[in-house]
Amino acid sequence: MNTATFSLATLAPAMPEIVLAILVCVLLIVDAWLKPSERHISYWLAIVVLVGTAVLAATTLGRPTVVTFQGLFVADLMSQLLKVATLLTVAATLMLGRSYLEARGLLSGEFLCLAIFGTLGMMVMISAQHFLTLYLGLELMALSQYAIVALQRDSARATEAGMKYFVLGALSSGLLLYGMSMIYGATGSLELTRVAYAIEHGQSHAMLGVFGLVFVVAGIAFKLGAAPFHMWIPDVYHGAATPATLLVGGAPKIAAFAFIMRLLANGLQGMSGDWQQMLVVLAVASMAVGNIVAIAQTNLKRMLAYSTISHMGFLLLGILAATNSGYSSAMFYMLVYVLMTLGSFGMILLLSRAGFEAEDIDDFRGLNDKSKWYAFVMLVIMFSLTGLPPTAGFFAKLAVLEAALEAGYTWLVVVAVLLSVVGAFYYLRIVRLMYMEAPGGEITIEPRAETRWILSAIAVVTLALGVMPSWLMDLCVRAITASM
């Protein structure tokens, strides 16, 4: 093509992705030469790669929006922020899960490399401005995750989870592709800005566009885990090894948020009247199913899975407002939610040990007698998930509710509020068990310092955001304004 205009500078916006791709290949090679006893070197290398790339991505913060690769790729404030968050989340996930993985012989080069390849996919998704890049990133992420979930070969539960995840994930990808192809047919372009232009100027086939939109929204709901497309979430969360669950339930949610933003807000904003109605149904169904079914769970991982579903419903409240304030509220909500997910699954990892999974709610019984600080950490996380001040979760809920009410969805806000009281019941149960019951069995606290430091930091940040949420909120507003 026009090689004359090519220069290295056009690659600059994608520098974090390129660096990560090269480094993960290096890691793959290095790991091949290491003995099993030297696996901790790969682990530390992986952490260095992720944190290093995060630092590199952080240096790009605040640069003006750049579109490159002929409109395939965009680097704006939103993508920069979300990439930093994604990289740090994956790094924290690996650090929280280290002992767990080591004790079960899962901390292999494959696990680390797949995790990083998945991260690369998320970054591509976050920066995509084209149906093809979106899909490319999505599949890179999803394929890595299918493998990660199924990596625990001797566990029937993990294999089953991997299988379910793969089949349903493939189905949703198919739906998404089908929808994208119809939107392509309706608008004549795969590039999101041109799609948006065509819709806004009436150059699209309306009927075909709406038809495609239905499939795209279904695909999104699958990836996000919103009811009624949530069936894979409990099984995968429950079946996978806990660090793998965290890899599936943590950082990918950030990417899923970017995915929604790119598709619905950047590309299909002109059809917001159509997708708002669909999201209303998804939001109400998710909040209802998630909160009500979670009450019946005795397995903490399953309970958190249903809690995820309900939180995705809440997040959709922000998106379906279809305003900048709604999007930025949803972004804030997602970042806070991912922090909570890290904390809650981190606590499971903290209490797990070789041959014992602390994944039943009863395993938290009497934690306050054993460790006041970690009971407090869990209390903060649970109340943040409930949405009680002074925690970050309260301001996330406030922002989203405000956006929905501003957009005129008063009844929806009332429904959301009532269902979150239902939700409070099961989060409260954990606090109750930790503080008001005597320990049932032996409780051990994971001895590794990095796990404990990260969990403590999560609690402190959650409280700090509950007292001083302003800076992150403002950052989200700026990011959304810049990307719209």
């Binding site: 109340f383 406030l398 509710l401 009410l405 009332v414 509020v417 409070a424 109750r432 949420p469 302003s470």
Partner: protein, 494 residues
Amino acid sequence: MPGMPILSLTIWVPIAFGVAVLAIGRDASPAPARWTALAGSVLGFLVCIPLWTGFQPVATMQFTEMAPWIARFNVNYHLGVDGIAMPLILLNSLMTVLVVIAHWEVITDKVSQYLAAFLIMSGLINGVFAALDAILFYVFFEAMLIPMFLIIGVWGGPNRVYAAVKFFLYTLLGSLLMLAAFIYLYNATNGSFEILDFHRLQIPMTAQVLIFLAMFMSFAVKVPMWPVHTWLPDAHVEAPTGGSVILAAITLKIGGYGFLRFNLPIAPDAAHLLDGFMITLSLVAVVYIGLVALVQADMKKLIAYSSISHMGFVTLGFFIFNADGLLGGMMQMVSHGFISAAMFLCVGVLYDRVHSRSIADYGGVANRMPVFAAFFVLFAMANSGLPGTSGFIGEFLVILGTLKVSFWYAFLAATTLIFGAAYTLWMVKRVIYGEVANEQVAALQDVDRRELVFLVLLAVAVMAMGIYPKPLADAMNPTLLELLRHVMQSKVAG
């Protein structure tokens, strides 16, 4: 002390000490935690004193502090007190001192967490009364639930977990609806969470009614009004003595305070429209709950029901829309704070010795504990509204105000003078007087110095307020009259 952020101090001093107590607390040697908590609560009370001495008897907000907090939603750290909030802050800070003294030899399990929960909650409650920004108010209002939940659930009686969860969920349901109302008002004022801006806002009738009901849910649960009162007897009975004291003396007042700060001034037309409803609920509380109290066999439950009945007077006073009613309601709130605290502490004194709350397990206590019996009878008299005690002032004013509205309302309200005396004095008769009932009573020791301290303090407060209520009334009256004037104006946009 001009220039000092007094209100911030009243909020953050107890919280800071609470965190310090957590940090230095060791289960093996609770003494340092205890003394730190005592220092914190006393200091917390001392910093409140300028609020009383420096208070101007006018209707405007005083001791205001303002700093931007969350720019995106225009939320400010805006504090200030008027004649409604100031006495309640003082009451709360005083009660915290009493609770710390009362726990001393009683609580031996997880002492530092217990004390920290009370200190932090004390700061948060001061924040509730001082906040002039709706979100700031809400943050304090909700955050308060967490320590209270733990206090009931960790240190309470046998059925404590059920009571704690019930308390938490009831309160949360109400307050989340109130949050939705706040957000609605935020949009209606074009982006302000200032409570005083809410007061000035013209609101159509339908919206007013919905806002009123949303806030009603929140505050009626707190007061608690019949029929959403059912959490209270459970919570009170199961809570440790200190928890009962704070619940009865302070958290119930937040409900009454909420009606005055939010429901009446923000939705006055809805308040007028629904006043029959509110008065009916209040009278049901006064009469029906009074009768329920009569048949209780458990002392704490009896006092809990008596609280509901007395708080019925408060809401009755607020919704008859005259000066006597409002002042009577406020007086009743402060007075009930002292009396209910005293009653629960007295039951605590007995419970610590005999480990039973059942009336049937006592009898003839006066023979063994004459000093205690004197105080108990005094507080019981105050509880039944004897002239000369604080209990009389509020009830008398409310009945007087009600009489101006309707003879039958006043008639029903006045039955409390009979029922209140009946259930309180009957309990006194069965517990204090008569022959020594059993060996446990025979072995009772009279109150020690520590217990004497809080009993004397409360007795002085109850008597002082009963004999010379003028300073308190003077401080509250301008605010209440201004509120009344505001409430009588229609806000429906013409």
